[in-house]
Structures are given as structure tokens and as C-alpha cells.
């Protein structure tokens, strides 16, 4: 099985990323010229949408901010509507390298995975690592990088994640992965390099209040969805 380039779409959720969005789009277009780049504008108040359009991206303008996951789901619904078979999600802040896209596509192309995560587990403070190991235990996910925004979704995953049942999620992280796992979709990780954010900051790790809220919310979600686990099917290569 191979992935045809015309069935591939790249989704970039962006909120107030005018400093980096152009460069991110340019880098992708240099490497993968025929692949459509879709920027989901999460109600930015700066020139993000305008710059993205000028750089050659399709822009999906949200009327009000839905948060990171709401924006990505908009992109996934677009991919479904337009008949794309594989969708790559990338951050708009320049953290991810366009070079790593082929690595993400490979496990899908050989029919080994439905979702591929570009993992960079080295990042993050000790506290963060402890938090993730707790969540790994709670969720039963055998993955290293639970929050990476660099992912490839194949058609069955796109269909699931574009549906109503994924709409009340807030971040592209554990909730999404648990949902995928529950539906028996195969998740794989590939190691990738990530740059420090050129601009901006983590949406999750921005303040103690938000972090604590996020941790509690995610913990409850893990416990609520604690059920029969599929055998671990996601070894790190």
C-alpha cells in the first residue's frame, strides 16, 4: 500500500500565530508543493488568517475560539468532506519540522497503523514527566509522548475523530488517544526532532491554574474511561 500525494492534507490549527505561520506554511510547501495546507484559524485577533491565505493555505475561519482540539476537529471534518485519506496535524508555532512528515506517513503506508504520533518525549520538566507517567498508568496507553501535536491520521481515525463523540474534547492529547484506543485503532509513535517554540508557549502549560485544572480534568477523564484495555499495540520503534 502506498499513500497517494493527492489524498494527503496538512492541518494547522492557529491562534494568533502571525509571527510564525507564514514560515511554517512556506517550509511545507517547499517540500510538498502539491499537498494542500489547511490553516484552521481559531478566531485569531491578529493577521494569522490573512498571512496564511497569502502563503497559499486554505483558511477555515472559526467564528469564535474553540480551543486547540475544536480547531483540529474542524480540519478533520474538512478532510472528511473533501475526501482526503490521510491528514497530518502540525503546530503553527514552528515546533515541528516538515521533514518529519514522511516518517509519519510510513507506518500508515505499510498498513501498520491508523494513527502515527511524532514523538519527542525528551521535552518537558521532571514534573511534567511524572504527570505523564501517572496518566499512562491511568489510561493504559503504552505511548511516550501523549501531547504531541504532530500526528498523522488515516481515514478510519479521521472518521472517528470528526464525529460527534469527539466534539467535547478540549486538547489533542489523552482524550483523543483513549477514544482511538477504545475503537481498536492502531496507534504508533515515531521519534522526531522538535524545535523549541519559536513563538508563544504551550497552551496547556501556560499557568499553574490552567495546569492544575488540566491535570484534574485529564485524571477524571482517564478514570471515567477506564475500561477493558486492548493489548498493547503501540511499541516504540
Amino acid at each position: 500500500m502506498t499513500i497517494e500525494i493527492h489524498s494527503l492534507v496538512i492541518l494547522i490549527p492557529a491562534k494568533n500565530e502571525e509571527q510564525t505561520i507564514e514560515r511554517v506554511i512556506m517550509e511545507i510547501r517547499q517540500l510538498f508543493t502539491p499537498v494542500p495546507v489547511v490553516v484552521i484559524d481559531d478566531a485569531s485577533t491578529d493577521r494569522t488568517a490573512e498571512l496564511a491565505k497569502m502563503a497559499g493555505a486554505v483558511v477555515l475561519p472559526l467564528p469564535f475560539s474553540l480551543g486547540a482540539w475544536g480547531a483540529i476537529q474542524t480540519g478533520l471534518r474538512y478532510a472528511l468532506q473533501q475526501g482526503f485519506h490521510t491528514a497530518i496535524t502540525m503546530d503553527a508555532d514552528g515546533q515541528h519540522e516538515a521533514d518529519s512528515i514522511p516518517d509519519l506517513l510510513y507506518p500508515i503506508a505499510i498498513g501498520q497503523a491508523d494513527v502515527v504520533i511524532g514523538a519527542y518525549p525528551q521535552r518537558g520538566s521532571l514534573l511534567r514527566k511524572i504527570a505523564w507517567s501517572v496518566f499512562r498508568q491511568l489510561s493504559g496507553l503504552a505511548l511516550e509522548d501523549l501531547t504531541s501535536g504532530l500526528r498523522a491520521y488515516h481515514r478510519p481515525a479521521i472518521e472517528l475523530l470528526a464525529s460527534h463523540q469527539a466534539t467535547l474534547l478540549d486538547y489533542q492529547d489523552l482524550g483523543v488517544l483513549i477514544l482511538l484506543q477504545k475503537h481498536g485503532l492502531r496507534i504508533e509513535e515515531v521519534p522526531t526532532l522538535m524545535y523549541p517554540r519559536r513563538n508563544g508557549h504551550s497552551r496547556i502549560f501556560s499557568s499553574w491554574r490552567i495546569v492544575s485544572y488540566y491535570m484534574i480534568q485529564t485524571g477524571i477523564f482517564c478514570l471515567a474511561h477506564h475500561g477493558p484495555r486492548n493489548p498493547p499495540s503501540c511499541p516504540i520503534k
Binding site: 484552521i40 484559524d41 477555515l60 475561519p61 472559526l62 475544536g70 474542524t74 471534518r77 466534539t167 467535547l168
Partner: protein, 118 residues
């Protein structure tokens, strides 16, 4: 003044406000049934406050006012839970609607672009 007058006027006031709100269309019809029963209970318990004294022994409650409190709080709890469930459903719909608008807006700008440069 007898306490019965106080409770009866409170019951009448609550029932009156609820009925007025239903008639004025301030409450969606699906909530009206709930509130209508609240109005009726307020009326009955207000005019005949001894009802609760008769009910209490059935539930094995020796101090009747406690039964009133517990039933009242249980009702409030149920209602608040229903509100949150409804609220979550609305949130889901709102998000999907916003996403749909983004998709339609893109499709429309595409259309306009096509018409301008055929």
C-alpha cells in the same frame, strides 16, 4: 397570625410566578411540566402544611421538616444535573455549528473566487 397563612401565601406566590412565566413563554415547554409540578407541590404544601407531617411516618422520618428539606434538596440536585447534561449537549451542538460555519465560509470564499476569475 397562623403559620398556615405564611406558608399558603408563599405557596401561592411561587405557583403564581411559575404559571406567569409559563404563560409568558419564558420557559421552554419541555421545562414547563417540571415547573408546573413544582408549582402544584408548593401550592399543596403551602395551603396544607400538615401534608408533610402525614407523609413523614411513611418514610420513617420522625421529624417531618427534615423530609421536606431532603426532598427539596433531592429535587434541586436532580434539576441541576439535568441542566448540566443539557448544557453539555448544547456545548457539543454549538461547537459543531461553529465548525460548520468555518467550512461553509471557506467553501463560499472559494465560490466567490471562482466567479471572479472564471
Amino acid at each position: 397570625m397562623s403559620y398556615q397563612i405564611t406558608s399558603a401565601s408563599l405557596g401561592l406566590l411561587i405557583a403564581g410566578v411559575i404559571l406567569w412565566l409559563i404563560r409568558r413563554d419564558h420557559l421552554h415547554s419541555r421545562h414547563a411540566l417540571w415547573w408546573l409540578s413544582v408549582a402544584i407541590s408548593a401550592l399543596v404544601l403551602g395551603i396544607f402544611p400538615t401534608t408533610i407531617d402525614q407523609l413523614a411516618p411513611w418514610f420513617g422520618v420522625s421529624y417531618p421538616p427534615t423530609l421536606l428539606m431532603i426532598l427539596g434538596m433531592a429535587m434541586i440536585l436532580i434539576k441541576v444535573l439535568l441542566i448540566d447534561i443539557h448544557q453539555s449537549a448544547l456545548e457539543r451542538k454549538t461547537r459543531r455549528l461553529a465548525q460548520k460555519i468555518a467550512l461553509l465560509e471557506e467553501a463560499q470564499s472559494h465560490q466567490v473566487h471562482k466567479e471572479e476569475n472564471p
